[in-house]
């Protein structure tokens, strides 16, 4: 979702933090999922080897991507699948629209695809008079609430069941005040079943696209991708160029890592392998670039394209947990989003690489070993060099660098600072000092270590 309010992560996070009990609830929920992931990972003594293997497979993919893409396309076509290429989001959306228009279709059911979020497909189609219904329960909820998903795997993790009950009461006719997840899910099941049975077109994402065979795999717990695809005349599958894996047997690595990392389940309910269209129906794959080939050319950041969209980095990130996905004002939020987004629009997303303490937890839960926190550090250097850092910050940093390169200046500056703290605490203990909002300033000691050491040395002499 584009940042309609023009607000940055710190501003949005501050708003999110106004409701502390809600922050605690959001934080604890996501931490619980991180713990479930830990339990699953610890059941496999070979877990770290799995991660390393997956990482190497993806490194190989990225270093041979053009070959694999051509191989995938040739095999898919051989299977009777039609393949389209979209250079950017707009072209992707236009292709989808055209495919529907050709068939006189104006209603479509969609299963989860973060790529289509990135492309703002739903909004585009709506403008063309096409009704799109998201069939993943979490996505349907945020769709009805007119919000973007806040998490790539758990779209409405930010919503409480009472709020969902209200949404369903307003749009789906459930009883007022009903918040029992079982009853709400049943309501959604009935509503969406009718949708599945009446839509001639279904659009899905792609979890993995196999170059060797031309097939692609979709993983869901709900079965919504399959319900939509198998009942439709046309199944459109949208994928980013980086979704390729070389051989079918590599699924034996990725399918062991994906869901354990994402939700702490050993595997999703359904891991569906689509190879050929059902008789009398069509499968169309749209292969999308939208900035990925540019990212591929950035030596420091190309590893971000290894991402298999598991969301583990979001679940573990303390900043994400305590600020919520919407604070990142981009389709894919959290740590991975913060290293992908600046490639798309450095100015708009200049705040994201700074929305981190560089704690490194993300890099260590990433199933494909993306060096996320190192890339966050590197993006900061790029953003400052490209001029997207506030001028005041640059001035302060230059002053700091100047002072710290000179021992004399450093010592007198430090002494001055301590004197200010001691004799004019109001200079720093005020509302203008952001540190002071929730924290006391450190106490200023009588002497620095340097001064103490000098005295000791003199004493010895």
């Amino acid at each position: 979702m584009s940042n309609a309010t023009g607000k940055s992560h710190p501003q949005l996070a501050a708003v999110f933090n106004q409701d502390e009990p809600r922050v605690d609830w959001h934080d604890e929920t996501l931490w619980w999922i991180r713990q479930k992931r830990d339990v699953q990972a610890h059941k496999l003594p070979e877990w770290e080897l799995l991660r390393e293997t997956a990482s190497q497979i993806k490194n190989n993919v990225l270093s041979n991507l053009s070959t694999y893409l051509e191989q995938f396309e040739a095999n898919a076509i051989n299977n009777g699948v039609i393949v389209h290429w979209a250079a950017d989001a707009k072209e992707h959306n236009q292709i989808v629209h055209q495919l529907l228009q050709e068939r006189g279709i104006n209603r479509m059911v969609k299963s989860k695809s973060m790529l289509t979020e990135e492309c703002h497909l739903n909004e585009y189609l709506k403008e063309q008079g096409i009704d799109v219904i998201d069939s993943d329960l979490g996505e349907r909820i945020v769709q009805l609430a007119n919000e973007p998903p806040s998490h790539i795997v758990l779209p409405c993790i930010h919503k409480k069941k009472e709020e969902i009950g209200d949404i369903f009461h307003e749009h789906l006719g459930s009883a007022k005040g009903e918040s029992d997840p079982k009853i709400l899910t049943e309501t959604a099941r009935q509503h969406l079943r009718e949708v599945f049975l009446t839509r001639r077109a279904a659009l899905t994402g792609v979890n993995f696209a196999i170059a060797e065979t031309g097939e692609f795999v979709i993983c869901t717990n709900e079965g919504n991708a399959d319900m939509g695809a198998h009942l439709a005349e046309i199944h459109i599958a949208s994928m980013g160029i980086e979704k390729i894996i070389p051989e079918r047997k590599h699924l034996g690595v990725f399918l062991r890592l994906l869901t354990r990392s994402a939700t702490g389940q050993p595997i999703t309910t359904y891991s569906s392998h689509y190879k050929k269209p059902q008789e009398g129906t069509a499968i169309h794959i749209i292969i999308v670039d939208n900035g990925r080939s540019i990212q591929l050319g950035r030596e420091d950041f190309r590893n971000s394209l290894k991402c298999i969209r598991c969301g583990a980095c979001m679940n573990t990130c303390p900043v994400y947990r305590k600020s919520g996905g919407h604070s990142y004002h981009t389709a894919v939020a959290g740590p991975i989003g913060s290293i992908l987004a600046p490639n798309l629009d450095m100015k708009k997303y200049a705040d994201l690489p700074f929305a981190s303490t560089l704690c490194g937890s993300c890099s260590n839960v990433c199933p494909v070993k993306i060096d996320i926190h190192d890339q966050l550090y590197k993006w900061r250097q790029v953003i400052v060099k490209e001029g997207y850092s506030p001028a005041s910050k640059t001035i302060a940093m230059k002053a700091m660098a100047f002072t710290l390169s000179s021992p004399g200046l450093y010592r007198s500056g430090g002494k001055m600072g301590r004197l200010v703290f001691k004799y004019a605490p109001f200079a720093v203990n005020n509302g203008l000092n952001p540190w002071y909002k929730h924290r006391e300033m450190p106490k200023a000691p009588e002497e620095s270590f340097g001064e103490w050491y000098s005295k000791r040395k003199e004493g010895k002499q």
């Binding site: 996070a13 700091m400 100047f402």
Partner: protein, 246 residues
């Protein structure tokens, strides 16, 4: 062996006791410690804010101050990590590379180089150990909870040698405290919340002191504790290990 003491800038100015404790502890363990008096800062505050290109002056000064020692010991995980990963000096690159190999955070120096097996220190209190992120995931001075790998902790190993000290368990053993350099002011709301939650974990488990190998984390948590008018205090690992030590 010739050991140089690298004192982080904010430790020098605001928490000299931790540096003093580091020096005294090393001397008690028989180490000849030098303090290069013209040292200033490792450059991390600027580098982490995206201004690594401004750190040439700091780097050059660092190389000048710390060349020619067998080891450089620092009571800070984050500063040690920064030097290890980012110290470069175009005219003195060979020396810079050499320094990067020789710089150690205090607890890893005590365990890995001095191979300390016992301490004569005494600290009869309940202590919560905060595993600072750079020391933990950067320097690997303890095992992080994200990995499926054997557990270990160099700071905990040392604290176990201290008489009377009781390490309290925590609900989240390695969640970040939220300091993060300029993050603490740029993202003030999230930073304070993160610090508040960390502190609460320690308080809930009965800690009287919170300790860490990193004073930046402790400075941040101390700010929150004092605002809450809590009795819980922060103390650097060096001060505990040096406490009442002959």
């Amino acid at each position: 062996m010739k050991v140089a003491l690298f004192v982080p800038c904010y430790v020098d100015q605001f928490y000299p006791k931790a540096a003093i404790a580091t020096l005294e502890l090393l001397e008690k363990l028989g180490v000849e410690v030098h303090y290069p008096k013209n040292q200033t800062c490792c450059g991390q505050p600027m580098a982490n804010s995206g201004y690594e290109h401004l750190t040439a002056g700091c780097n050059s000064l660092f190389v000048d101050n710390f060349s020619g020692y067998d080891y450089i010991v620092c009571p800070s995980g984050s500063c040690t990590l920064h030097i290890k990963e980012h110290l470069h000096s175009p005219e003195k690159e060979e020396q810079a590379v050499d320094i990067r190999k020789r710089v150690y955070e205090l607890t890893e120096f005590l365990i890995d180089v001095l191979q300390v097996k016992e301490l004569k220190s005494h600290f009869p209190y309940k202590v919560g150990l905060h595993q600072s992120c750079h020391g933990l995931r950067g320097l690997r001075i303890s095992q992080m909870s994200e990995l499926v790998a054997p557990a270990f902790s160099k700071p905990a190993q040392l604290l176990d040698m201290v008489q009377g000290l009781e390490l309290v368990p925590l609900s989240r053993q390695d969640d970040c405290c939220g300091f993060g350099g300029t993050f603490c002011v740029v993202e003030e709301a999230v930073s304070s919340k993160m610090g508040k939650d960390r502190v609460e974990d320690h308080i809930e488990h009965g800690a009287q002191y919170i300790t860490s190998a990193d004073l930046s984390c402790l400075m941040h948590m101390e700010g929150i504790l004092r605002r809450q008018k809590s009795d819980v205090k922060v103390i650097h690992v060096a001060e505990i290990l040096n406490h009442s030590h002959e």
